[in-house]
């Protein structure tokens, strides 16, 4: 054992005293840190696992859409929405289920699924897609005010043209050609120069007369 000189000895004493006072805190902090870290890692791992499962389920759902078996599609989509609601697959599944229901004549379920997608979508663009389609469903049910409410919420800029176009459809159905024209014109201003949809909007304006 080497002998410490006085100064070193002093420092060691200070350190010891400090440890006596704060040692437990340090151990606690390290422990908390370790627990948090592993919790975060565990959470990430769990999330990744969930995403993988959702992805698998989604693949199955996608291939089912080709079979025209509405019940199967609905069940598969329902499962994703229920088990992995936080995953990006859930809203997509809801959109797919809504189409299957709509095509099978079940407008009520379609509306419910679109509402779900609009409420739960994690991506803004997906939410806007859901709102657009929801507005179309409500329009068919002649719930004009509710339909308008969907497209009066602000979408991400890229969906502005489709929103205005839908607004025009609703206003036309309400028998308000002047307002509808304004909406279609707004859609025309936003829609892509080369988009084929542009032509359709133009024709809708022409169809209003003038």
């Amino acid at each position: 054992m080497a002998t410490y000189d006085l100064e070193e000895q002093e420092q060691i004493d200070i350190l010891k005293a400090w440890w006596k006072r704060n040692g437990n805190m340090v151990i606690l902090a390290v422990a908390v840190f370790a627990v948090t870290l592993s919790a975060v890692q565990g959470w990430r791992y769990y999330q990744h696992n969930q995403a993988i499962k959702a992805s698998m389920a989604y693949e199955v759902l996608q291939s089912m859409t080709k079979s025209d078996d509405t019940k199967k599609v609905r069940d598969a989509a329902g499962q994703i929405m229920e088990l992995y609601p936080a995953s990006p697959y859930a809203a997509r599944a809801a959109l797919i289920a809504a189409k299957a229901n709509h095509d099978a004549g079940d407008a009520q379920s379609a509306t419910a699924q679109l509402q779900w997608a609009a409420d739960h979508a994690k991506e803004d663009a997906v939410r806007d897609i859901a709102r657009l389609r929801l507005a179309g469903q409500l329009l068919d049910e002649k719930k004009y005010a509710e339909a308008l409410k969907q497209v009066e919420m602000n979408p991400v800029p890229a969906f502005m043209a489709l929103f205005s176009d839908m607004k025009g459809d609703i206003l036309t159905a309400q028998g308000k050609p002047t307002e509808a024209r304004v909406a279609y014109q707004a859609a025309l201003d936003k829609v892509g120069e080369k988009s084929s949809y542009r032509q359709l909007i133009k024709m809708k304006i022409e169809n209003l007369g003038g």
């Binding site: 990744h48 995403a51 993988i52 992805s55 698998m56 989604y58 693949e59 199955v60 996608q62 291939s63 089912m64 859409t65 080709k66 995953s87 990006p88 697959y89 997509r92 599944a93 959109l95 797919i96 809504a98 189409k99 709509h102 095509d103 379609a110 994690k122 991506e123 803004d124 663009a125 997906v126 897609i129 389609r133 179309g136 469903q137 329009l139 068919d140 991400v156 800029p157 890229a158 969906f159 043209a161 489709l162 459809d169 036309t172 159905a173 829609v191 892509g192 988009s195 084929s196 949809y197 359709l200 133009k202 024709m203 809708k204 304006i205 022409e206 169809n207 007369g209 003038g210």
Partner: protein, 635 residues
């Protein structure tokens, strides 16, 4: 699950994957994950991810190949020098980057398990219905791709598919939208037309020389005559040299002797068969039953070989051949499955053997014909060999001469005579040609034309360097006569321009007249001098000879109070007045027609959703494009 994937693996996705492996290109952007961005120039940056010059060039090259494959001879490689095309290709690459990035950001995952299943279900990677690792690797190697690189690409396309497909294909049509779409497309309107032609105003319009000059100045660019030159040029090509070469009898004989195999035609055999199918995976009992059945048929066939066709017609379960009495026609080795082939090429004519087992099941085979292999004689092959030998000699000679050619045109840049004399080439002269080429196909090479019309070429009339205008053909050219760009003088054009100007002014008159008439008609007044045609029914889809503007005007006309008048300036000159008599909305549509409209509208919506979705990614992304890197650089 597996069935599901198999079903999809054989559908469109399989095609995408096939495109991925057969078209080794970088549009999909994975390479930048795998490689270190590549060193050197960058064309664009998408959210920190780069598109390197190298990747862009690869994409360009692949686009070129695809266009060449589709357009064949009419393909013009300079098309890809057009800025808008290059921009479009870059946009496509950016879009892929955006989608790939979007998929990651959204939290989409494609697991290894899923990937493995996909790969193993792709028919191209299978042997005998099963995934084959060696086939997989060799197919990829043939495209100079490694499995990890391919898998990364595949994973990315799967993720993009997950990201976008569910959003677009789930487009649903509201009844209101569909009804209005049908109405718009199916509505018919009965119209009569009256045209006010500019010609009727022509005699009153006089134009003087001053006006013509003014008109000329305004449209001067139309009358620009680009610079032209006449060239003299020398060509060194393997094709030309081939004519000068000779091949001796001895050489031909020697070649024939060394390449005997090349002049052999393989033996062909004709066989009929009866197939009792059984799957490779079938159980033992099933196999046994099939074998017994085949044995029985074999005995029958063996007893009366003459009735083989009859027997095959009744019993064979090969849908392709049963109806023809089992006849498979003539085939050489390599055309049939191995066990079948081995049996056929061991039999003698008329013999019946069986049952032979292959992957298809059990075969009973009768050999009905043999065409022995035959060799082409030396005399028959002589011409072909001679040409081949001359070509080989020419290629060798070309290689020897090419360097001298290149050096001489460069070292004595003011004349082509030295090179022509020393290599015994002919100096040829071209007719007038422009910067974009002319009637001599050989000279229509971008690099050559650029060199010819360069400063040095025009001012100093220097030889161009030796340029390979196509494989195995070198050309050097120099200008002998040059006409700078000029404008056709106005004097030469005065008649033509006078006519044009007169017609334009008459058109203005006609339009004015037409608009006045329309105003009167709209007030309910008569306009007596108009000649109305017969009423016709038009719809947007069947608009006859009417142009887009006229159709738009007709369907824009307020149908509230009929008849209603409208009018448009005709693109060919003149003013078209239109009277809409009545509007006929589509009555009941048959289902097929309605479905057609629904499908069309759905497609439109899907496209628009896709475009909007990509735009939404774009708006959030940080994209920078280096325009100077995008442009074509001449080397």
């Amino acid at each position: 699950m597996l069935d599901v994937i198999r079903e999809r693996a054989q559908g469109w996705l399989a095609k995408v994957i096939l495109a991925l492996i057969t078209v080794p290109f970088a549009l999909w952007g994975v390479d930048s994950y795998l490689r270190h961005g590549g060193d050197g120039a960058i064309v664009a940056k998408v959210d920190g991810q780069t598109i390197s010059k190298q990747e862009f060039n690869l994409a360009l090259r692949d686009q070129k190949e695809r266009m060449r494959a589709v357009m064949k001879a009419s393909f013009d490689p300079t098309l890809l020098d057009k800025p808008e095309i290059r921009q479009a290709i870059l946009n496509n690459m950016i879009e892929q980057r955006l989608l790939a990035g979007g998929a990651v950001k959204a939290g989409l995952v494609v697991s290894d398990e899923l990937l493995v299943r996909f790969v193993s279900e792709i028919p191209e990677f299978q042997e005998n219905g099963k995934f084959s690792q060696s086939r997989y690797e060799s197919l990829l190697r043939a495209q100079s791709m490694t499995p990890p690189a391919f898998e990364a690409r595949l994973r990315q396309s799967l993720m993009i598919e997950q990201l976008v497909d569910g959003l677009t294909t789930s487009s649903l049509l509201s009844n209101a939208a569909l009804d209005s779409f049908v109405r718009i497309n199916e509505q018919q309107r009965e119209v009569v037309q009256a045209m006010i032609y500019p010609e009727q105003f022509m005699p009153q319009i006089k134009v003087g020389m001053d006006e013509i000059k003014g008109y000329y100045e305004k449209h001067k660019e139309e009358f620009r005559v680009p610079e032209q030159a006449r060239l003299e040029y020398v060509v060194l090509s393997v094709d030309d040299l081939t004519f000068q070469m000779t091949a001796t009898e001895d050489e031909i004989k020697k070649y024939y002797g060394e390449h005997v195999a090349q002049f052999q035609e393989a033996e062909q055999r004709q066989a009929s068969h009866i197939l009792i199918p059984v799957a490779v995976k079938a159980g033992d009992a099933e196999k046994k039953a099939a074998r017994e059945k085949a044995e029985k048929l074999f005995k029958e066939a063996k007893q009366s070989p003459g009735n083989f066709a009859e027997l095959a017609k009744k019993n064979s379960q090969d849908p392709g051949s049963a109806a023809n009495g089992g006849d498979l026609g003539f085939f050489a080795r390599g055309a049939m499955v191995k066990p079948f082939e081995d049996a056929v090429f061991k039999m003698s004519a008329g013999e019946v053997v069986g049952p032979i087992q292959s992957d298809f099941g059990f075969h009973i085979i009768k050999l009905t014909g043999v065409k022995p292999g035959k060799a082409r004689t030396l005399a028959e092959a002589k011409e072909e060999i001679g040409l081949e030998l001359r070509k080989q000699k020419a290629a060798k000679r070309f290689a020897e001469m090419a360097e001298t050619f290149s050096n001489m045109v460069y070292e004595q840049p003011d004349s082509l005579k030295p090179v022509a004399e020393s290599l015994k080439l002919k100096i040829q002269t071209s007719p007038w040609i422009g910067k974009k080429g002319g009637d001599v196909a050989l000279l229509n090479n971008a690099k050559l034309l650029q060199a010819v019309f360069s400063d040095e070429g025009v001012k100093l009339k220097r030889n161009t360097e030796a340029i390979e205008v196509r494989p195995n053909a070198l050309v050097s050219a120099r200008i002998v006569d040059f006409k700078p760009a000029s404008y056709k003088p106005v004097e030469e054009l005065s008649v033509e321009l006078g006519g044009r100007l007169q017609r334009e002014l008459a058109d203005v008159q006609a339009t004015k007249q037409g608009e006045m008439a329309l105003a009167k008609l709209s007030q309910g007044k008569e306009v007596s001098e108009l000649k109305w045609g017969a009423p016709i029914m038009i719809s947007r889809q069947a608009a006859g000879t009417l142009g887009e503007a006229a159709v738009g005007a007709i369907f824009k006309a307020d149908a509230g109070k009929l008849p209603v008048f409208t009018g448009v300036h005709d693109t060919k000159g003149g003013y078209l007045l239109i009277k809409v008599n009545r509007v006929v909305d589509s009555g009941h549509l048959d289902d097929a027609k309605k479905k057609g409209h629904a499908e069309k509208l759905r497609q439109l919506l899907m496209q628009e959703y896709y475009a909007a979705y990509v735009a939404s990614l774009k708006q959030k992304a940080d994209i920078s494009i280096k325009n100077d890197q995008l442009e074509k650089v001449e080397h």
